[in-house]
């Protein structure tokens, strides 16, 4: 009788909490369109194999810490973390290790020495340098592919590419690497590049949109290409350029005329949905697909390996150094819209 009573009480009091045994996905900010797609893909793919809960930290590490702390208290099976501050994850790894919970970090790579704290800490992501290299290749393609004889997009005909770079968050690993590698790779390919300025717009469309008019004011005559660390900022640049009278639709077919003198080449990285539609309308020249679907797939495949012992190699992904799964970037450009030399 007493047992029954206490059972009833326990059920009554704790019946509402049943997140134990779940997989939890922590996202740094759902307002980041690329991350939103990635998160949705992981939720969809993951939910076929386990209960999964999404937590959005709204770009606050404090909030994310709290969410992770709470989740760790519910006896989770696995945490998938897209950290707000990739440098601050070492206590999370320590705490998860103490609780015996495996971790998969996605999209923002923790320091190698932090990951090394636990055997059960993994990373799924793309190599930022690869996106920079691919973006450089796309820029080369835009200018005709011959570094000695640039095409009409070399407006002043000096055979030097005058560029403005939009950089993500200062100090952000991806921002630094993408910026460094797009510059380095163009040099390696033999192009001469003149970076008119590097604008830091924190990955953010709005910030990029607000920064663009001043840059156009200063460099509007000379700039030949905008190279953005991501699509969101590229879209912000395009938003501003449209308002400033760029991107005229000469034949009024609702598609921008890339041969028009008002067309301005803008390149992004990520391949988010709005970027693709801007590409189809001719505004955006090209982007580098940070394949959210592939990353989500790799993440879920890795989680299955961790949880159920399935073999990761079967899904076409490879575990490098026992804890890294690298997903390739892909060049994304609409060939038929490409201007011929």
């Amino acid at each position: 009788m007493r047992k029954l009573l206490s059972l009833v009480l326990v059920v009554f009091l704790f019946g509402c909490e049943s997140a134990s045994g779940h997989v939890h996905l922590f996202i740094y900010n759902m307002e980041d369109p690329y991350i939103e797609v990635l998160a949705e893909e992981i939720m969809e793919l993951g939910s076929a194999h386990y209960g999964i809960t999404l937590h959005d930290a709204q770009n606050s590490q404090i909030i994310q810490n709290e969410m992770i702390e709470e989740a760790l208290g519910q006896n989770p099976r696995l945490l998938i973390i897209n950290p707000v501050d990739r440098l601050g994850v070492y206590p999370i790894i320590e705490k998860a290790k103490a609780a015996g919970v495996p971790l998969i970090f996605i999209n923002r790579e923790p320091l190698a020495r932090d990951l090394a704290i636990s055997d059960q800490a993994f990373y799924v992501g793309a190599r930022a340098e690869q996106s920079g290299i691919l973006q450089a290749e796309l820029v080369a393609q835009l200018f005709g592919g011959d570094p000695q004889a640039l095409n009409m997009h070399d407006k002043n005909g000096d055979n030097i590419i005058q560029a403005i770079i939009f950089k993500g968050e200062q100090g952000h690993q991806d921002a630094e690497l993408r910026t460094t590698y797009v510059v380095d790779e163009l040099g390696r390919l033999g192009y001469r590049l003149d970076v008119l300025t590097t604008e830091i717009a924190d990955w953010n469309r709005e910030v990029a949109y607000l920064a663009t008019p001043a840059l156009v004011d200063a460099y509007g005559e000379s700039v030949e290409v905008f190279m953005s660390n991501n699509d969101a900022m590229a879209l912000g640049i395009i938003d501003a350029l449209i308002e400033l009278g760029y991107f005229a639709d000469l034949d009024e077919n609702l598609n921008v005329d890339q041969t028009s003198s008002t067309w301005m080449p803008v390149l992004g990285i990520d391949g988010i949905e709005q970027a693709v539609s801007r590409m189809q309308s001719g505004h955006l020249y090209a982007t580098v697909l940070n394949d959210a679907l592939a990353q989500a797939e790799a993440t879920v495949e890795l989680s299955k390996t961790i949880l159920f012992g399935s073999i990761l190699g079967d899904s076409g992904y490879e575990l490098v150094d026992g804890r890294y799964v690298w997903v390739d970037y892909k060049k994304f450009v609409l060939d038929d819209e490409m201007p011929e030399n």
Partner: protein, 577 residues
């Protein structure tokens, strides 16, 4: 389980079980809910404070980083143009504009100082400083050192935190990697910690990634052995309630963006805990009070139901033990009062029946008694008159006279004006007359004696009890064999009883015969021993258990019959029987 309990107990137990269970449940749920709620309040408010602290630090660090980023950008641009003077001005301005930026220095790839906000002489061997090495190792992040005495210049004296970041600069058209060094005085860092009110003994610890102290706002805690540090090492990240030196604290450990630091806030929550305890006591008080009140209420209620029943029960058990005492008066529920009324009726009926039965028995006893008494007389009279006729025929006139006188006295006592109870002396006189008559009648073949104790005087007996015994003694004791029979009559008081003893020296009777006689005495059989049974039954009818007839005998020696009766004074019981 409840069957052995009284109605009141059952009712009481059932009621108390329900009430107690309800109260316990309500109390338990309330206390649990209340505890959870206050725990939530403590944790939420502490977390808010912690967030505020972290956010203050974040803002501060963000400012430092944006300055550093600005300097890093300018470094590559201005070195490209070879405008080192301009860059130095920029460094100096940045250091001057910021309260707590002690110095901004660009260290070249070989460890030499390229640009400095300060004119002081740089130390040598900067390339071996840990902040330099770290910056070169992880090039894309900022490095925040632990507080130390400024070592980028010679003879440094202020305590600083060195922030470093690998930056690119152009040297003769070649991109090189240098290290941007920003020394921050610890003033602002400490100020930020002290700005927040964390309550008495509340404090802040800032730890780096190796869990070494960056800063501790508590004087008690400045080395790795202090309790707060142990708590933080255990929590790693997150919040928890702890008790430190009798203070209830809520500890939050959080990371500080960019720095790889953890900030732990120890917030004093004594007041909340104390008031929670107080409220919990009050709650338990109310609970106890409610239990007591319902206990008393339960007793009163169950009593009001069962008191009439138990009164009735008590009365019934009194009746059961034989006392048909008066009516039971019960006030209470309708069912019980009607039950009591019915019971009273029943008792009244039983009483009536019993009274009738008793009076009928009395009547019956009286008529039996009289019948027994009257059985004696004709028998004896016949024999005596027969003897007198025989004496007269033989002209033994003196004896006739003696006999007639004795007979006349005999009958006077026999009749005794209709009384059944006479004095012991009269009874003995009556025996004497009888013996003298019989002695004549039996030709003086026996002799007799009467010995009477003086204390016998003044007591009463049922009349005509001795005569049948004597008659037996004469008949069975001596008639045939013994020529010189002897009959002794004794009257005395022994152990509070009056004893009449009739003893003859006849041939006696066996033990078996005595048993047989006793058996016939107590039964209604008319087989033999008529006289004895008559006497016995009259004694029993009149005196009840207190009277007895005891027969003893020794074969060829004697037979003794004792009549034992209670002592009754002459005035006491004239009326009975």
């Amino acid at each position: 389980m409840f069957r052995r309990l009284s109605i009141g107990q059952g009712f009481f137990i059932a009621m108390m079980t329900v009430i107690t269970a309800t109260l316990v449940l309500a109390n338990f749920m309330y206390v649990t809910y209340f505890n959870n709620a206050t725990n939530d309040i403590i944790s939420t408010s502490s977390r808010e404070i912690n967030k505020q602290v972290i956010m203050n630090y974040e803002r501060y660090i963000d400012e430092v980083i944006s300055t550093a980023n600005y300097l890093a950008r300018q470094t590559i641009e201005l070195t490209e143009d070879g405008a080192l003077d301009e860059l130095e001005t920029l460094y100096r301005q940045s250091a001057e504009l910021s309260d707590d930026m002690s110095a901004a220095v660009l260290v070249g790839t070989d460890g030499g100082v390229l640009v400095s906000s300060d004119t002081r002489r740089a130390s040598s061997g900067l390339e071996t400083r840990s902040w330099f090495v770290n910056a070169r190792r992880d090039r894309d992040i900022f490095h925040f050192s632990a507080p130390h005495i400024q070592d980028v210049f010679e003879n440094g004296s202020v305590e600083v935190i060195t922030v470093t970041k690998s930056v690119d600069y152009i040297d003769d058209g070649v991109v090189r990697q240098g290290v941007l060094v920003i020394d921050l005085t610890t003033v602002n860092l400490i100020g930020l910690a002290q700005k927040t009110n964390l309550g008495e003994n509340g404090h802040i610890l800032i730890l780096n990634e190796s869990s070494d102290f960056i800063y501790a706002s508590s004087f008690q805690c400045n080395d790795a052995t202090c309790e707060s540090k142990t708590v933080v090492d255990d929590i790693i990240l997150g919040g928890r309630s702890v008790v430190l030196d009798d203070d209830h604290m809520y500890v939050n450990v959080n990371t500080l963006k960019h720095t790889r630091w953890r900030i732990a806030t120890f917030i004093n929550v004594n007041t909340v805990v104390a008031s929670r305890q107080e409220l919990t006591y009050v709650q338990y008080g109310i609970f106890t009070g409610a239990i007591i009140v319902s206990l008393m209420l339960g007793i009163v209620l169950s009593n009001s139901i069962t008191k009439p029943i138990s009164t009735l029960k008590d009365h019934m058990s009194k009746v059961e033990s034989g006392a048909l005492a008066g009516e039971v008066v019960i006030s209470g529920q309708k069912e019980i009062t009607s039950l009591a009324r019915t019971f009273n009726h029943m008792i009244a009926d039983i009483k009536g029946l019993m009274e009738r039965l008793v009076s009928e028995q009395k009547e019956k006893r009286k008529s039996e008694f009289l019948a027994l008494q009257t059985q004696i007389n004709p028998h004896f009279l016949y024999n005596t008159l027969d003897s007198i006729v025989w004496l007269a025929e033989n002209n033994r006139n003196a004896e006739v006279i003696e006999m007639v006188i004795a007979l006349s006295h005999f009958f006077r006592i026999s009749i005794s004006r209709g009384k059944n109870i006479i004095s012991a002396e009269d009874e003995l006189k009556h025996a004497n007359h009888y013996l003298s008559i019989q002695k004549i009648r039996y030709n003086r073949t026996f002799d007799y004696s009467l010995s009477i104790s003086p204390e016998v005087k003044g007591h009463t007996v049922v009349k005509l009890v001795l005569q049948p015994i004597i008659e037996n003694a004469i008949h069975h004791g001596m008639i045939s064999d013994h020529e010189s029979g002897q009959i002794d009559i004794r009257a005395y008081v022994k152990e509070g009883r009056l004893v009449f003893e009739v003893e003859n020296n006849g041939y006696g009777i066996t033990e078996d015969k005595i048993k047989e006689i006793r058996g016939s005495m107590t039964q209604e059989s008319k087989a033999n021993g008529f006289g004895l049974r008559n006497v016995y039954q009259r004694l029993k009818l009149y005196y009840g258990e207190e009277a007895d007839v005891i027969i003893t005998s020794e074969v060829d020696e004697m037979t003794n019959v004792k009549l034992v009766m209670p002592l009754r004074k002459e005035t006491e019981d004239e009326e009975t029987a």
